[in-house]
């Protein structure tokens, strides 16, 4: 989820877009990112090759009973606790949905129609490759030197042998992709997610990852080295990234629109679960899962009414 770093690139002295910048593309693709395609894509895009998560590094079988994770886990927050600004968030969701249907989705689908999928996949790998330096930075901050070195090696190999990242040669050589961002780094050191947010022109977030994205934007080595969004490269990168993310998310967004009974709640759930899984990659903490045997208590009637009042259906 790197593209919004470009949107908030506001370093003093940065050049503004020049006349030659393909503004229409930049505008459309900025909206694409802004409408949450990128955020959603992060929730559904192929995850990096699984690190041998400490939570999945198994102890010898005979230790099973003794080492099993205790069944009693902390109670997950309720919908009202994790989404205290639900009225505002749902309004933003409706607004972004309108813009997506009117502008962004048609652009993304036109791109998908006229661009052969091998080219789209190649561009997607270029986008991913440009994230590697930021992964180096955050993996280092997280105290994960192996991941940092691997991301650095991947960037060097794929940028050269892989023709600017079009081909993921490094994966074939056994250097699987991992990802790291500053929201994950904050989570690694115990910073709580804070409330859920759905922002106009931005999409799903939580407070911690919103801060993380601002920091990622300000510290992205590629952006620092190339002049940020003010440069032609920065604008082009933003456009390609946004288009790739929105196109990648298209099938999933369509499925949610058709299958979910409350798409807002589904996107929120998927986004928050995905971010939790990203942080667990860094911490190795076991996953907190609900009990399948024992459904939760119905809240008191007053709380049910309050929740219903806050939750206006969008579709």
């Amino acid at each position: 989820m790197i593209t919004r770093r470009d949107i908030v690139e506001t370093r003093p002295g940065a050049d503004r877009p020049r006349a030659g910048t393909p503004l229409i593309v930049a505008l459309g693709l900025t909206l694409s990112v802004a409408l949450g395609g990128a955020a959603w894509t992060d929730a559904v895009e192929p995850s990096p090759a699984p690190e041998a998560s400490p939570a999945l590094q198994a102890a010898p079988a005979p230790l099973a009973a003794a080492a099993a994770i205790p069944p009693t886990m902390p109670t997950p927050p309720t919908a009202a606790q994790k989404d205290p600004w639900r009225g505002f968030n749902r309004g933003s969701y409706a607004f972004n949905g309108f813009l997506d249907r009117a502008l962004v989705r048609p652009i993304a689908r036109a791109y998908m129609k006229i661009t052969p999928s091998p080219i789209r996949r190649g561009l997607g790998r270029v986008v991913d490759n440009l994230r590697e330096p930021s992964t180096v930075l955050n993996s280092s901050l997280q105290g994960r030197p192996k991941q940092a070195v691997r991301a650095g090696a991947r960037f060097v190999i794929n940028s050269t042998v892989g023709v600017l990242g079009v081909f993921d040669v490094a994966s074939r050589a056994g250097l699987e992709r991992s990802r790291a961002d500053f929201g994950q780094t904050l989570g690694r050191y115990g910073v709580d997610t804070g409330p859920y947010l759905y922002l106009p022109l931005v999409g799903p977030l939580n407070l911690r990852d919103g801060v993380g994205q601002v920091v990622d934007a300000l510290t992205d080595p590629i952006s620092l080295a190339t002049g940020g969004l003010g440069s032609d490269f920065g604008a082009g990168r933003l456009g390609v990234t946004a288009l790739d993310y929105r196109a990648s998310a298209d099938a999933t967004l369509e499925a949610i629109a058709q299958e979910a009974t409350d798409p807002y709640a589904t996107i929120q759930s998927a986004y928050l679960q995905n971010r939790e899984s990203v942080v667990r990659e860094a911490t190795g903490a076991p996953e907190v899962l609900p009990d399948f045997e024992d459904p939760p208590e119905l809240p008191a009637p007053a709380e049910t009414v309050a929740l219903a009042a806050l939750s206006e259906p969008i579709y």
Partner: protein, 212 residues
Amino acid sequence: MPPAPARRHLLTRLGGVLALAGLAAAARAQPAARRSARSPEAEAFVAVQAQKVLSVLADRSLSLGQKQQAFRRLIDQIADVPKITNFVLGKYARSIEPTQRARFNTVFRTYAETVYQTRISEFRGETLKVTGSVARTPGDVVVASLVLGGGRDPIPVSWRVLGAGAAWKVVDVQIRGVWLAITQQQDFVSTIDNAGGDIGVLIAQLQRNSRT
């Protein structure tokens, strides 16, 4: 073109901060990993049964109708449908009327078959490799796997299974960090909340969505 002095200065400082932070982090950071038990029985169950699902969906000799029938049979064999049906109702599982529950069971079954088949069919033509498991309790295990092939990066898929010995049932599937049943529960509960607690609204919505 070499970086401008101001930018070079910034990069140098960034590098210094990074090195210091990395050292400090490495010194203090021992991942909060807890070594957890592995369940070979649950892993074997997933390795065999999940591969069956992928194979059915990949079988080009079957028509769509035949695939759907085979998928339905497999779901009955390997998934704990009653538990899933109860789980997705969340807090409303305790208050639903028996007649509504009967209607919900039927409607959800149709809806879930459509949704799960669509999700899992994304992986057609690919193979499954079990990579580990975590026994949350001896009878509640999350089995991690990778779906390989299809000319793309391996996709991590986890299977939550309940049971013992050779008798296991799947209750949830996690694709790319997102659990399907948990997501459905939050979707459904939100829909019922929005309707002021009226489960009938959810049932009607599921009927509409199953037809699309």
